[in-house]
């Protein structure tokens, strides 16, 4: 019950969907109230006053080719058409989706068999089907429903199958399968919710078509039998007077349009409301750069002169972040995720930012090159100075040149952060050519060099692979190669090893560390794992609930954490003897230079 209420609340939050719902409810109420309204007899003919224009006396919307009151026929007709259109759509959606889901999910022979059946149905002449139905069941509107349903099954089946086939080998489906879930449960609990948007859209786009379709069938006798009105037959009957009395078709036409529009608006709303990823707030596509709305007065502490935060070196830093505030806009106003964070990175230095999930560390990292999804993200205050220039004030062009040029990112899960449909080599080549006007061949050669540098085996053939063909570690090496493509000054690595297993994790860390040292890169390394941070970072900033609670030399903090939260983080390093290993690692780090 509360689930339904929450769903409705989400739906109504979308103003367009709410408008659509209101319109739809109005239409439905109007249709439902037809017997109660003071309408003229919808079937009473009066040939003498046929084709009266709208606003005629006694006929607000005029009369049709037999002199019947269009308003009355419209309302009674809407009643019938809604019932037929909706039930036909739902039935077609149900049957088509079942076929599509099973075919898409099962794949192989089942898929081939089902889809050949759908091919047969689709290629089957619709009229013949309709005639067969008339022969078997007789004429009538209700029987038209079967024909319309049969014809629309392929639309749903093929659309749904396409979506379901794409999901078949997705990781969450694999996971569900490994966890021993049955096929039916996976279909219903994992696949169905993900293809629901496709079903909803197809449903909302076909419903109007179904209403129109009953008009198309009426010349076979598959339509409402005279004198009963439905929107389709009204359109069809008005057709012969289309040139001299367009209102006869326009009136039902507008009604069909209103129904289609309201269904579509509601459909969009429903799709967004059921999409689990969109539950927080309005769905919106992220823009190119995080919106910056620095309101100096409203944010306490923002009055501190930029770049001169206490305890920070004013000059010489490659990157200086001061008093950064990043928020997410929610239904009840913006919620700060980063609350006035300041730190700096010297050239060639590695800064670790550590904190548990939700501490704001990733948002901080993404805020630097303004990659926080926006909406809902917004930078509300502070400065990010890179080589002295405030990135938050940079126009789109220079910012774009900086991204992947001077500042490069390595993200957490390379399976989702690499483009799944592009060869990995091409993705790196593209990064190179985005910043330097080199010929494709030259960029390709450099890609292979980079692959060699990140120690990918057989770099030339590796470049031809797609992300899903590589192991997790290999994919992350590709990401690192991509980050290195334009010899950046700063690499921001956002939990680059979290998605990898332990041995691979170590290899990647070693690689990053070695590359950083050999190429004299500065790095911001973000992790929730003290062990990882201590292994490669010079300094550490500990983040907790959007703020930096402690910052200092990595070894020092590890040895003598001052903030209780830091102590908790260190204690959370789980494995016995791990602390010793961490210590050793930091000693080694000290010996190296």
């Amino acid at each position: 019950m509360t689930g339904a209420a929450a769903f409705l609340r989400r739906l109504l939050r979308n103003r367009l969907a709410a408008a659509g719902l209101i319109l739809l409810v109005l239409v439905v109420l109007l249709a439902a109230a037809a017997p109660l309204l003071p309408l003229a007899d919808p079937d009473a003919t009066a040939p003498v006053r046929r084709l009266a224009p709208p606003f005629s006396e006694g006929a607000w919307l005029g009369t049709d080719t037999l002199g019947r009151d269009i308003l009355s026929r419209l309302i009674w007709g809407t009643r019938l058409s809604l019932a037929v259109g909706i039930s036909a759509s739902l039935l077609a959606a149900l049957l088509g989706s079942v076929v599509g889901l099973v075919a898409g999910y099962a794949g192989g022979r089942t898929d081939a068999l089902l889809m050949r059946g759908i091919d047969t149905l689709m290629a089957f002449p619709y009229l013949l089907l309709a005639l067969a139905i008339v022969a078997a069941l007789g004429p009538g509107l209700l029987n038209a429903l079967y024909a319309v349903v049969a014809v629309n099954i392929p639309f749903f089946a093929r659309n749904v199958r396409g979506a379901a086939a794409g999901l078949r080998n997705r990781e969450f489906v694999d996971a569900a399968r490994l966890s021993g879930m049955g096929g039916l449960r996976i279909l219903l609990s994992e696949v169905l919710p993900n293809v629901m948007p496709v079903i909803v859209i197809t449903l909302s786009t076909t419903i109007g078509w179904m209403i129109l379709e009953t008009a198309g069938l009426s010349f076979l006798g598959l339509g409402s039998q005279p004198p009963q009105a439905d929107l389709g037959s009204m359109l069809g009957e008005g057709r012969r007077a289309l040139i001299n009395a367009p209102h006869v078709t326009a009136v039902p036409g507008v009604m069909v349009f209103l129904i289609v529009m309201s269904m579509n608006l509601v459909g969009d709303g429903v799709r967004d409301a059921i999409d689990p990823r969109l539950r927080s707030g309005l769905p919106a596509r992220p823009s190119a750069a995080t919106r910056v709305a620095r309101a100096t007065a409203s944010v306490p502490g923002a009055a501190v002169p930029a770049g001169a935060a206490p305890g920070e070196p004013a000059s010489g830093a490659l990157l200086a972040v001061s008093d950064l505030r990043t928020a997410f806009e929610g239904p009840s106003g913006p919620v700060d995720a980063v609350k006035g964070v300041s730190f700096h990175v010297m050239p060639g230095e590695c800064l670790g930012i550590i904190g548990e999930s939700g501490s704001g560390k990733s948002v901080t990292a993404l805020s630097i090159a303004r990659l926080v999804a926006s909406p809902p993200g917004v930078v509300r205050g502070g400065t990010v100075r890179f080589n002295g220039a405030d990135l938050l004030a940079l126009p789109a062009g220079p910012l774009q040149r900086l991204r992947g040029g001077r500042i490069a990112y390595v993200f957490q899960d390379p399976l989702t952060t690499l483009h799944p449909l592009m060869r990995v080599g091409a993705q790196v080549t593209e990064a190179i050519r985005a910043h330097a006007p080199v010929p494709a061949a030259e960029a390709g050669r450099r890609t292979i060099e980079l692959f060699a540098a990140v120690k990918l085996p057989d770099p030339a053939s590796m470049a031809q692979a797609f992300p899903h063909e590589l192991s997790g570690g290999q994919r992350q090496r590709v990401s690192i190669a991509m980050a290195l493509a334009n010899d950046p000054d700063l690499i921001i690595a956002d939990e680059p090893t979290t998605a990898l297993d332990v041995t691979v994790q170590a290899e990647i860390l070693d690689l990053l560390d070695a590359l950083r040292r050999s190429r004299r890169l500065a790095m911001i390394f973000i992790s929730h794992d003290f062990g990882v941070i201590a292994r490669i970072c010079d300094r550490v900033a500990v983040m907790h609930r959007g703020e930096i609670v402690e910052t200092g030399e990595a070894r020092q903090i590890l040895a003598r954490p001052r903030h209780p939260y830091t102590r908790r983080l260190i204690a959370a390093v789980p494995v016995l003897g791990r602390a010793r290993e961490i210590l050793r690692a930091s000693e080694r780090a000290e010996e190296l230079p």
Binding site: R116, A123, R285, Q400, T417, H419, L421
Partner: protein, 315 residues
């Protein structure tokens, strides 16, 4: 992939066989008779029997079907009694007209639908999005006979810019420019509905994709917004949109009856309707076989394209 395509094409054989059998049975079982179509009110049982004998319709159903099947296998689709000419000639003529119309409409629908979908996804909730959404909804809720006539009245009657109907001018036509002039209105009318469906699915797929991590990666690489949207997001979104285009191909191919009627386009959809009304079973069979083959090939092309785009789908 070649093996897969070959397999699909081979699968066409049972599909066509099954289709022809069902079509044949339904044509035999529904009320009505070729003789009724020929004779109209003059259809006395005596006349009907004579015509059925002349047409070979007095033989038993299995014999009729098998003799038809035998002829088809030797490349003879039979003779249409309602048009008094070989089915193959008629189907070939009509089909090329349909292909021109449907191909153009599909191209137009894909380009318009994709553009509209992309624009409205990129400008989500903006003015452009609202305008596109409105246009799309109008497009999918307009009866095509209405839109078609409206276009004729505006472009042919009022402004005299384009011909009202037909495929070629009566005199001095026949060249490509003439064909294009005749093609504009029916192709646009036919494309509108398909474009609407494609646009809506493109918008939804784009919105889905634009929220994904790899789009952020593309931005982090320093790619321009155009390249992020067209090069990365659209490419991923197309995987879901292409099968829809394939289905629209089927719709545009076989379902264009109204448009072919309104614009008097000599296409196969209208031919099939007439053939069914006249119970011209051989012509129906010929038309269905061609439409089905073409439909299956269109969808195969869509599936292959999808596989080409998405290497994750196992061949």
């Amino acid at each position: 992939m070649a093996a897969y395509a070959l397999g699909r094409i081979l699968a066409l054989v049972p599909v066509l066989f099954g289709l022809s059998l069902i079509v044949f049975l339904i044509m035999a079982l529904i009320p009505g008779d070729p003789a009724l179509a020929i004779l109209g009110p003059y259809a006395t049982p005596e006349n009907v029997a004579r015509i059925n004998r002349d047409l070979g319709l007095d033989r038993s159903l299995p014999v009729q079907y098998l003799s038809w099947l035998g002829n088809v296998l030797s490349g003879d689709l039979g003779r249409s009694y309602s048009l008094n000419r070989p089915v193959l000639d008629e189907v070939a003529e009509r089909f090329s007209a349909t292909l021109i119309l449907a191909g153009t409409a599909l191209l137009l629908a894909s380009v318009l639908g994709l553009l509209a979908g992309i624009v409205s996804a990129v400008r989500q909730f903006g003015l452009a999005d609202k305008l596109v959404t409105l246009a799309v909804l109008v497009g999918i809720s307009l009866p095509s006979f209405w839109l078609g006539l409206l276009l004729i009245l505006l472009f042919a009657v009022r402004w005299r810019l384009l011909p009202a109907s037909g495929m070629y001018a009566i005199y001095g036509g026949g060249d490509l420019a003439d064909l294009l002039r005749h093609l504009v209105l029916p192709a646009v009318t036919l494309a509108i509905v398909a474009a609407g469906v494609i646009a809506r699915l493109t918008r939804s797929a784009m919105l889905e994709v634009l929220r994904q991590d790899f789009v952020r990666t593309a931005r982090a690489k320093g790619l321009g917004e155009g390249r992020v949207i067209l090069g990365h997001a659209l490419r991923a979104a197309m995987v879901g949109v292409i099968p829809v285009i394939g289905i629209q191909a089927g719709f545009v191919l076989g379902g264009a009856v109204y448009i072919e009627t309104v614009f008097q386009w000599p296409g196969i959809g209208r031919m099939l309707v007439d053939a069914i009304a006249k119970r011209d079973v051989l012509l129906v069979q010929g038309g269905v076989l061609v439409v089905a083959t073409c439909y299956v090939l269109f969808n195969l092309a869509a599936d292959l394209l999808q596989r080409l785009l998405d290497p994750r789908i196992a061949p």
